[in-house]
Amino acid sequence: MRKMKKALAAVLAVVFALQMVACGSANEPAKEENKDTNAQETQTQETDAAETNDTDKASGESKGVIAYSCYNMSWEYYVTLAKGIRDAAEAAGYEYVEHDQRSDQSIMVQGCTDLINQNIACLVLTPCKPEAAANVYEMAAAKGIPVVLADISTEAQGYLACFKSDNYDGGVIAGQYALEVLADKGGSHKAAMITVDPSNTNISRSNGFKETIEPAGWQVVSELSGKSEPDVAYSCMQDIITANPDVEVVFCSNDPMAISASQAVADAGLVPGKDVYILGYDAQTNVFEPIKNGTVLGTVAQDPYGMGSGAVEVFLKNLDGEMLSYDEEGTKIIYTDQWIIDAANAAEYE
């Protein structure tokens, strides 16, 4: 009996300790957010606004909770997106909470269920598995909670709007930039692409690039899949140079692959930024150094902050009964801006 009581006491103590941890660390996300997102800030005015709004929140008047369930909060891109939502939510007098799916669809379904059961005002969702989100829409609709998608779209209907970048258009922007910068260099007018197969996002980007430069007389000599892994992208780049030593520009559909490709060019004895030009995508923090050094020509920047704040804006408009205008009526997609970051404007966006 005594042994059982000791065991019971020990376990209860651990469980209650866990709860204290839970209550204590519920405040941690707020502090961590502010530290992490200073790295990638595309709209610095909002930062100032956020500071003053934190004090408004403290006054305790909250109209409800806006929750963001995210694919994976350890990715810088989504940290910025989350900040966009947080700032807009708090500016409008709502409380902001976050949920990390850790790239696991079961966690996505369960976490969204738990959030919906708490009768939040709005759910902003970046689904790690878009197909599995259909149930989430139904549950939310049953409780009258609007769902807004950010960055990733799904086929199932049931959401209010979806904010994402037009990946095809991003490829077009990269293509036009390449044509502009390299038109007079007298190079071979040969291009290659390192994409990620079978990701639709990346394939759209590559298609946009290809279909912009080909009509202008350029030739795409190679299109390989870097599988979104720097090592694989490195060997793809080596293969491209071996087969086409006079290739002029290589478009990589994300920055880690671009950085790796520029390394491969350097290791092959050529000069990245002179003999071969590399373009990336996403404007991640560690591509700014190569851009300033000239080893990477430029990158296509997306606007995750704008996606986040746009999502909250759309929710508020819907609440007021305003009609929403979409860029694509059928899929309710609203596109956010994209632009090139190169050596000329890198300092501004770093």
């Binding site: 469980v15 709860q19 909060m73 909470v97 850790r102 369960q110 269920t113 059961n117 197909e131």
Partner: protein
């Protein structure tokens, strides 16, 4: 009236205590929808944990159930549109038993240790799942099927009812049949079983077959809740199932265990996970909490064994002195 040995059912006391505290402390926990959500979530890992209880009582492990779920999901969703709902459910149960049989045969007849075998099938089953549909996800839109995961009978979620029914059946198998007794005996000492004429190979194979069946039922629920089958689902599923079994007090060395405790532990695990979500705990801290729970669960076993060993040693010394 049989005297209840509370020492063996500590997990019940912990669950009741936890729920009482949460009821008082958090208004969202009390909501009917939330409690139903906990039961629904408990069923997913709980059903797999039922089969895992049998395996652990027998003294083995099965690390491949997550990959089994991925493979079975693809198979079930793949045939559902062509053969219809009921036949596809039968197909998935049969396929689950076949997967379990693969494990069982390699372990029992080729004498490869369970850890190694199921580690191999952990990789192989998932690889087959990726190959079968070219790594694509298959949508499941049959509304009756979706009800299996998302529907209720009255206020109780259907998955939890399935958990209870399966639990009762397996508890009867474990406690009231010769087979159940053989499973426990095997967990205590394989050598003694062989000497007393028990067909250890058949006992092992049947246990892994049942595990495969439980994995198939889990697959139905997981796929219904997500309305799609994909090859990258349930990556850490074996971890959850083993944690739940050990949390229920089943010893890792085998020989002892209780299906009832496993069900209670499944509800406790889901409750703690729900509580972490209700308090919007950061993902990093959630991982730490679940890791702590696993450590605590495993250390019950270790501490109890340590106490028993120390007591035995001190008794031996007393006897020697005399």
């Amino acid at each position: 009236m049989k005297k209840i040995n509370w020492g063996k059912h500590v997990v019940v006391v912990i669950l009741v205590g936890f729920w009482l505290v949460m009821f008082v402390m958090n208004k969202n926990f009390r909501l009917g929808d939330n409690l139903a959500s906990i039961l629904r979530e408990a069923a997913t890992a709980g059903i797999a944990a039922l089969g895992m209880t049998l395996i652990i009582i027998m003294g083995d492990f099965d690390l491949s159930i997550g990959s089994m779920v991925a493979l079975l999901g693809i198979i079930m969703a793949g045939v559902m549109n062509t053969v219809g709902l009921i036949p596809s459910l039968i197909v998935v149960c049969v396929a689950g038993m076949v997967c379990g049989l693969v494990n069982g045969v390699i372990i029992a007849y080729f004498k490869v240790p369970a850890f190694i075998t199921t580690l191999g099938t952990y990789y192989s089953f998932r690889a087959i799942a990726y190959i079968l549909n070219n790594a694509n996800t298959i949508m499941c839109t049959n509304p009756t099927f979706l009800k299996i995961g998302n529907g209720n009978i009255g206020v109780i979620p259907i998955p939890f009812v399935i958990l209870l029914v399966l639990g009762i059946v397996l508890a009867m198998v474990l406690n009231r049949t010769v087979y159940g007794r053989n499973v426990r005996a095997l967990g205590n000492s394989e050598k003694a079983c062989r000497i007393s004429g028990i067909n250890t190979k058949r006992v092992k194979m049947l246990a892994f077959l049942l595990m495969g069946f439980c994995a198939a039922v889990s697959t139905m629920i997981i796929t219904a809740r997500q309305a799609c089958a994909s090859p990258d689902v349930a990556i850490n599923f074996h971890f959850e199932a083993i944690t739940v079994v050990v949390l229920g007090g089943t010893k890792l060395i085998g020989g002892e265990g209780s299906i009832f405790n496993t069900i209670i532990a499944a509800v406790l695990y889901a409750s703690v996970s729900n509580c972490l979500n209700l308090y919007h705990v950061d993902a990093k801290w959630q991982r730490i909490c679940m890791g702590l729970i696993l450590l605590v669960a495993f250390s019950f076993d270790f501490i109890q064994r340590l106490v028993v060993t120390v007591r035995e040693n001190s008794q031996k010394k007393t006897v020697q002195k005399v």
